[in-house]
């Protein structure tokens, strides 16, 4: 009897050394053909040209300790300048002994908003509504004071990062309700309402923010009865809110258009009136869709807050700019602008990552 022949496979040959491991990775990603190799060499040359001098300037040659410009001797970046002026960049001219109020406002914002990010929290919507009403009041009381036992700090003393955040957050929070109304109005069946909303939106979207700020600072006083004088910061805030409302309206309109017609019809079939249909059926879905768009609008607004320099408010950027032209620290403009750029970058990049994550997370329901 024959013994059954067993077929044994030979062991796999190891792949060629040139196509696996580090060498393989290099060959597929950097040197796949002559053109790619050329590009790689060029890119390496660029990096070599840029990175070492920057590191040399910003870290190796930099001065970190000291109290005046005399301590900056090594020829690199003078971070002493930033260190000495740091608290002014954060708080502006806010009285030093009252700065805990600003800190407390920020802490309250974070602690108060934290529960909103937990899915498991009961009554999340109610809490969100409560937070949205209560927090601005508390924040205003803490920052501005003047009643309930806190001394008033005039808005002309506000400045630095704190002012930037105040303008950006108030701007977007104030613009949201107006923007949503405008978006609904733009899609309304009533021609008069539609014309008013379209005109408003297109007007604000068509002009640069800088002219709007100019307008708020020179024209708003003319519009008001003579005995009313409006605070400079409030004027800027009104301008920013009206301006942003138009942009929010367009973002929300995108969301409204993305909701299938069946939803509108279903709401109507349930016997819901216009406001209930919008409030209970359409807007919750539409707003969820446009959260990333709103975050992007917020990023744009955050960058645009730097424009209040034009009307003489001392936000983060203007505080730094003023410090660079201070005779005691002349010649350190680069350090100042680099610091400002890093601060803005951290905020904007962080928010854009957050918006991307949201986009991925929310991109489930209506995806085909």
């Amino acid at each position: 009897m024959n013994t059954p022949t067993t077929h044994t496979f030979k062991p796999d040959l190891t792949p060629p050394i040139l196509s696996v491991g580090a060498v393989g990775w290099l060959r597929t990603n950097l040197f796949s053909n002559w053109f790619n190799s050329l590009l790689t060499v060029f890119a390496i040359y660029l990096i070599w040209l840029l990175i070492p001098p920057i590191i040399q300037w910003a870290f190796l040659d930099a001065d970190w300790t000291g109290a005046s410009r005399a301590d900056c001797t090594s020829g690199g970046a003078c971070w002493v300048f930033i260190k000495v002026r740091f608290s002014q960049f954060m708080y502006g001219f806010y009285p030093e002994e009252l700065r805990w109020r600003v800190d407390l406002t920020v802490i309250l914002a974070i602690v108060g908003a934290a529960p909103l990010f937990f899915k498991a929290m009961p009554q999340r919507l109610r809490y969100a509504l409560f937070y949205m009403v209560a927090y601005p009041l508390v924040a205003f009381w803490l920052l501005n004071g003047g009643f309930f036992g806190l001394d008033e700090v005039r808005t002309s003393q506000w400045g630095g990062l704190m002012l930037t955040l105040v303008i950006a957050v108030t701007g977007i929070a104030g613009a949201m309700p107006l923007g949503i109304l405008l978006a609904l109005g733009r899609r309304s069946d009533m021609p008069a309402i539609r014309v008013i909303c379209v005109t408003f939106i297109e007007f604000w979207r068509g002009v640069p923010l800088i002219t709007v700020l100019f307008m708020s600072s020179v024209m708003l006083p003319l519009f008001m009865p003579e005995q009313v004088s409006i605070d400079k910061l409030l004027r800027a805030l009104i301008a920013v809110m009206l301006f942003e409302a138009a942009y929010i309206a367009e973002v929300v309109r995108g969301g409204l258009q993305a909701i299938p017609k069946g939803q509108y019809e279903a709401a109507a079939a349930m016997g819901l009136g216009y406001w209930r249909a919008m409030g209970l059926v359409i807007l919750p879905q539409a707003l969820k869709l446009v959260i990333p768009g709103i975050v992007n609008t917020f990023i744009a607004l955050f960058k645009d807050t730097s424009l209040v320099l034009i009307i003489g408010l001392f936000d983060l950027f203007n505080s730094i700019h003023q410090a660079t032209v201070d005779p005691a620290w002349l010649g350190f403009a680069t350090e100042g602008y680099v610091f400002a750029a890093v601060m803005f970058w951290i905020f904007c990049f962080g928010m854009s990552r957050y918006s991307m994550r949201l986009e991925r997370k929310l991109h489930t329901g209506h995806k085909r």
Binding site: N36, I210, F214, M215, P225, F344, C348
Partner: protein, 394 residues
């Protein structure tokens, strides 16, 4: 199926009738808006009367009496405010056109680089995009102006490129072209080339659609643009004489002078907007599904034709609308020039003229309407273009 209602539907009270409520709402809204407008108008009238400002546009004919750093048209101090307006408008348009040109160029290169298979190149492009689009444009303008260009050496120690272009604290000095006698013929030959290209393109398309025969349009057009001007140059002589900047005493003479404000704002806006354009280009290319490429290849198109006939036309449909809105943003951002003293429309008109005349409402209204006009005309053009290229669905 048809149902005929013999009895008219029961009508509720007028309060719940949607038609009547609709009318009521609209009338209410119109009354509220016009009331607000009237209120503001009244306040403004009183305030203006109190301050002794006469409204109206007659101030435009008054002599301006101030000098302007850069002007594309003849201007001197005795010219009127309307001339100042024109100077400002042209300066704004100059920055916008320069910015759009460089931003588009850089943006397309970056967008394609980000999709490159070369790991290093795509990483570099990503780092660039994420850095530049997250820093406020105003900050970038200030950086280039105050930290870089204001720190440039004096004219004597200028940084030079091939001894023909110089950069120093007073600005950028480039070789400047001057037209010679052959210049008009040169321009005419270019114009002929443009017209001929359109004719050839049209003829080639008609022929291709009728017979299926391809015609090398691109090569012909490039040939036209090279050969015609070259022929006139050979026949009539060099159309340009170049004048090079030269150091005479303490400053440069001759050539083309670009003021540092213009350099800073063009640089900053181009670098900033390019980051956004790059992302638009990337998403446009990615929006064309791979199936399209596969289909084109299986039809026998070569990769280059696939790119030109299948991928790019479809990508452009996605790219163009957001691209135009970036262009609009750039035009609006060019108003930031006012912050570093570049004499654009906002700096000259909403700044200097407003301060001199006190005509706040008029100057701001004129400035805003210019930007509005630009925005609206571009969006009208955009809508027309969108309709033309929109997918025709059955």
């Amino acid at each position: 199926m048809q149902t005929t209602a013999s009895v008219p539907p029961a009508r509720g009270s007028a309060l719940t009738d949607p038609k009547i409520r609709g009318w009521a709402f609209q009338i209410l809204a119109v009354v509220a808006v016009s009331g607000l407008g009237w209120y503001l108008f009244q306040n403004t009238q009183t305030n203006l009367a109190q301050r002794g400002i006469t409204s109206g546009f007659s101030f435009l004919n008054n002599s301006a009496g101030f000098g302007i750093l850069q002007s594309l048209i003849d201007y001197n101090q005795s010219d009127s405010y309307s001339r100042v307006f024109l100077v400002g408008l042209l300066n704004t348009l100059l920055v916008s056109v320069l910015g759009i040109f460089f931003a588009t160029l850089l943006g397309f290169i970056l967008g394609v680089s980000r999709l490159s298979h070369n790991w290093l190149v795509s990483r570099l492009a990503t780092v660039y995009i994420e850095t530049f689009r997250n820093i406020p444009p105003l900050l970038q303008i200030f950086f280039w102006y105050f930290a870089v260009l204001r720190a440039m050496p004096s004219p004597r120690d200028s940084i030079t490129f091939f001894e023909s272009a110089f950069i120093n604290i007073r600005g950028l000095y480039l070789p400047g072209p001057h037209g010679t006698d052959a210049y008009p013929a040169f321009i005419a030959s270019l114009a002929i080339a443009v017209v001929a290209s359109f004719v050839i393109g049209h003829w080639a398309r008609v022929r291709r659609e009728a017979t299926g025969q391809p015609f090398p349009v691109l090569a012909t057009v490039v040939g036209l643009f090279v050969l015609l001007p070259a022929a006139t140059t050979v026949a009539l002589g060099n159309p340009f004489s170049w004048s090079f900047p030269e150091l005479r005493g303490f400053n440069f003479v001759g050539g083309l002078v670009v003021i540092p404000e213009l350099v800073a704002i063009t640089l900053a806006l181009s670098l900033y907007t390019a980051a956004f354009i790059a992302e638009i280009v990337r998403s446009g290319i990615q929006a064309v599904s791979h199936g399209q490429t596969e289909a084109a290849l299986s039809l026998g198109l070569r990769p280059r034709l696939n790119l030109r006939l299948v991928v790019i036309p479809q990508a452009m449909r996605v790219i163009i609308p957001p691209l135009t809105s970036q262009y609009l943003n750039l035009v609006k951002n060019s108003s930031l020039a006012a912050a570093i003293g570049y004499p654009d429309l906002v700096a000259l008109f909403a700044g200097t003229v407003l301060n001199q005349t006190g005509q706040a409402i008029e100057t701001i209204a004129i400035t805003m309407s210019v930007y509005l006009a630009i925005s609206l005309s571009i969006s009208v053009l955009m809508n027309w273009y969108n309709k033309r290229i929109a997918l025709v669905e059955r």
